[in-house]
Symmetry: C6
Subunit: 283 residues, 6 copies
């Protein structure tokens, strides 16, 4: 399992080490940053401090302050913002509904990480993104939580289908992630009732120079069929759940997407108030 990623205290210490060579504003509290970066490893945190320093320099600030650190968190997660990237109105609308789909499913499904921000300003290779940050470090994840993760991942494609009766290439990264997650649930976490508490090595492991091993499947084709069926079932059940959830909450989805097209970025409170307007959620 290798080295586990650092916990809250560990991240704070690592930030402190990397920040030694950077001038910091008086109000900067590394505890806050550490709390917002669960899952970050040492290299990510070093990167974060570096990006913040560059941003402060670009903004002619005498020292790094909280806004630079927060922007830096997003840069590390999703890449730099591409503000002048021109997409058509039609594409903008699709992206807005896609991201609103992710955000709404996250908000309405218990056991998901809080939505911190939804944006349709392109960042890195993505046309939009929904930033979820866990409130605390997690070391165990339950089957229910993993299913919720699947739902959120599928929310973008489902929203597109619901609103435009059409699907686009925009979801292909989500689909790769959700397929991979469902496969892990079945093959690594032993979470399929049909296959039982067993592991099935499906992915090839890394090989080193001069050690070149041909690892085909290590199970029979029939076991492979059962794995495929269970993975598909997880995805299909998730898609059915998400389609119903978004359809039942269509007005919330519309409000979110419309406001997102208008303001381009929504923070957690804005998302909450837009959802609340439509009455209590039915999850």
């Amino acid at each position: 399992v290798g080295v586990p990623s650092p916990d809250l205290r560990g991240r704070e210490e690592i930030l402190r080490v990397h920040a030694k060579i950077v001038k910091l504003g008086p109000e900067v509290d590394f505890k806050v940053i550490a709390r917002r970066t669960p899952g970050f490893v040492g290299a990510d945190l070093a990167n974060l401090v570096n990006e913040a320093a560059l941003l402060a320099a670009r903004r002619n600030k005498p020292y790094v302050e909280l806004p630079e650190l927060e922007e830096a968190i997003e840069r590390v997660i999703a890449g730099p913002e591409r503000k002048n990237h021109m997409i058509t109105e039609r594409e903008k609308k699709i992206v807005a509904y896609h991201e609103s789909g992710h955000a709404l499913v996250a908000k309405l499904t218990p056991g998901t990480d809080p939505v911190h921000k939804v944006s349709i300003i392109p960042r890195g290779p993505a046309l939009g993104y929904t930033l979820q940050l866990p409130t605390e470090d997690r070391f165990l994840t339950s089957r229910t939580e993993l299913k919720s993760k699947l739902y959120v991942l599928l929310g973008g494609r489902a929203a597109e289908e619901l609103v435009f009766k059409e699907m686009t290439t925009g979801a292909c990264n989500d689909l790769e992630k959700s397929t991979g997650l469902a496969q892990k649930m079945v093959c690594e976490f032993g979470m399929s009732d049909k296959l039982g508490p067993m592991t099935f090595r499906k992915k090839e492991e890394e090989v080193f120079l001069g050690r070149d091993i041909n690892r085909g499947t290590t199970f029979s084709n029939e076991t492979g069929q059962m794995i495929d069926a269970e993975v598909k079932q997880l995805i299909m059940d998730g898609m059915a759940y998400v389609r119903k959830l978004l359809s039942d909450n269509r007005s919330k989805l519309d409000r979110l997407a419309e406001k997102l097209m208008e303001k381009e970025i929504l923070d957690s409170d804005e998302v909450d108030s837009l959802i609340r307007e439509g009455g209590p959620a039915v999850a």
Copy 2:
């Protein structure tokens, strides 16, 4: 997903950078060139400027002007023209119908990129080509648009079959592209209703020195069968659509092919007026 290809503004800037060492005519507007080159990456644009400069030198012009830049766009897309390439009259007729098939399907199918030019002067390894240029940068493509792309790709073979009751090797490059596109729709974009919003890694990824991984299929043979069936269905449905479309518009196809045999190159307006002559299109 790697680095996304530059957008309109990005292409204009890149063109400007590469053009610094080239003398340009007064009327050259890089905005126009940038608009005609969506999908071009930095290296393509550098190549474009270079080819245009060579053409201007060959034509003894004091500076690069629009015609050189336009010819250079086609060279980058399809290779240099091979004017003195001698093909038989019979082959010329087949090529003319083949390209007219592509062009007519593109003109009559909504959601395809505009036809800029149809040519039966060999260029690069191709005996003819139909130049389609999108009007704007596209970042999302819908299933409908991808199906339309399939139709255009299949139009050449379908026209040959309709007119000559025969098929030739001339379509093999089109078929490779359309098979690959249909596979991507099913395996990467999650656009098959039967297989659902999932990804299936079918293609081998690149491996690096000393890391040599044997990646066979990562799914069972039965899943593979379903993928094969869905890919085939996309192609077969596309072929049925295209056959009917060309058969219903046979006179337009004949007019296009005849004029193409006569003039060898048709621009967008010529194609439009040839199609209009035959009455409104039935798509």
Copy 3:
């Protein structure tokens, strides 16, 4: 089969050799340490002495004493303790039941190695662990004993399911081990009645520089199916046994888990007295 791991006498001698350069407390008896380290090879023992020396230095002791050696045994088996690792109360409870599941199955199943210690202080990559040490060197293991090993491995997941009606990622390392053990029973030890006293090479062997052999399965898919079925049967039978055992002894499990949440570490005697409180075990 390579070099067998050293026996009791061998380990004692190896410890003596490595300890020559370390100052030892008067009461240190290598016989005791050797008895607690069956299965350790030379490198493990060298590591043990080294870790003990470092601990003594950190504790400002003039020489290595028994507590350092005992802590060092656990470090070699499971990695260093991570005391300040903060996990949520919910996670702590799951871990406590998970480890109590392992420990209780081990206590109630004849033919398992004695439970030396149960801990929910994270150590190495694990959130908790149950330390079992055999009382003597073992060179032959019977099918019954291997099945008991399977039961203990499955006890953690089974306890989670029983108590929380939920499963987590916390068992994935156990599941990898139990799947691997069941496969060895079928494919290497000839312990499946259906497949008979035969061996089936399923795992790829290591290859050396420049000798790169593609070893796929060396049997037909049908034989592979039978192997998969027998391995699954072993796991499923084990899971059924463990579920019943824990369900029948639910109050013992609760007492163990509660005390573990309170004290974080339980030694063998504490575990025994907690189990005894609930009346004689029904195995």
Copy 4:
């Protein structure tokens, strides 16, 4: 698709370049040679000039003349003649019928390249050969023409079977070529009605140093079965056609083979007149 092979004009120019360092007879016309060498690439043409020069030197000629160039064409296609190669009378008869089979099918099937020469003097690794040269450059080949090519390839084996009620190893090179051609028709040219206008990558592509990719089949076993069946059908249909054609024209076949045993080489006119003697062909 790489660089296309040079057309007529291209070949003439290449010949001229290579011939600069060779003394040529006054009557040598490169147009003629270029017309006889469609499909030759630059290296073939360089080889041709070189072989012709060597032959002229061996014949003590002051310069290269047409006979040397013509002999050189055959050398490039089939290797050097092996005049003193002794084969038995029985083998000679089999070879004569085998080559007559190729030649007669080529003569009686429309759409095949003209037969230039039939020989049973061993050349290169072959015991005999039938030289077909296209009359003009071809850039498109129709399904009908490819089927005709199959017929000609199968003519040798079919003639052996018809006459000797026996088959020999002499056809194994023909069979490799015809199997490969039928596979290309199905898998690359999309010419199977059952599999449709699709491509199927069956052949492994070349890999470079340090990039070692395991490319298995990229389709399911069922698709593979369908491909196998379609390829076999093409071969079996071709064999049925050829068997009937040769059987219906048995007397022409006998005349060709007998004359070939007598003269060892027949040119196009001799073949024609031998066929004509037997009345009009029934194709």
Copy 5:
């Protein structure tokens, strides 16, 4: 087939060569040693002489005598004795029955090599061993003799099952050998009536630097199934034979195992007399 192993005369000569640099006792007769080492190749014989010299030195003998050479034969076959290796009484009993099983099957089955010695003193990686030495060089082995070899290999596991109603990991090396032998009978020696006098390459051949060939199975899955079934049949028939033989001769088995636990080593005569006590054998 490579170089055949040396015959009796060859071994004697090789021994003489290697023994030149060693001082030998007067009574040493290499003929005797050569007769006891059929199947030894040159390197084995060099090793034998070397081990004997080391033993003589350790025993402070002025020269190598017969006891050292005999001990050296066993060292070369099975590794050095590990006298102080402590195993439990229970394990000792299992090993004693396991080895008695091998020995008794060998004694009661015609066509097996004579049992030279049975030991439960661990040697090399093994906890016990039964030393069989052929009386003469063998160059042909019949199916009957190979089946007898299978029986002897299966005798250990069968004895464990009969006596303890249990199986252990102690037989896994025997099972690997018997599975491999049965596979050779079917795939290399053409000794399966169902598969016939054919060979089936199942094992991967060694590959050399830079030549890395992926050799999968070279036959269809159905043929693989038939091979698996025939191999299993050989093992299962052998196991049935051995179970009956040991069950019918249970008292002999008990006498052998008891005496072995008492004396730890039995020579051929002791084994014979222990078997004879129980009346004539029923094979």
Copy 6:
């Protein structure tokens, strides 16, 4: 197909070249040697001359004479004689019948190469051998002739079975050859009526440094099944033919084997007269 092996005239010339540095007896006629060495390539002939020279030197002859050259032919084909190799009487009898089986099938089956010599003196890795030399160079081989070759290869095993009601490992080299030959008939020579005049690449081709291609089967499992079935049919039909032939000619077989045990070597005339004694052959 590479370079064909030299024909009669070619071999004579090659012998002459290599023999230039060797002193030859006056009666040596290279025409004779060339006639006895069809299929030998240049390296074989060089080897032949060299071996003959060494033999002459060992025999203290002033020059190489015919006996040395003849012995050298056998050495090149089968390796050096191993006269002092001791095999048991039983093995000798089996080998005698085995070789007589080969020889008798060869004598009684039309279309096989003449038997030149039968020997049970071990040579190279073989315990005996039957030397067949074709009377002339062959460039075409018919299906009938290949079947006859199969019969001869199977004759050894069949004779063992007939006489001893037993099979031994002695035939495993024959079986590898006959399986390979039957596979070539089906997969390379297109000689299976069921599979038709097609080729199937089954064997992996050599790969070069840095080009490492994974070539699995290039056909579906069902085609593989049909290939396996046809190959097996060829072997089984051959075995049935050979069993009947040897059974019908049992007395001839006995006479051959008995004389062979007595004299150890039989030449062609001796074999003929032994066969003739028993009346005319029934093939």
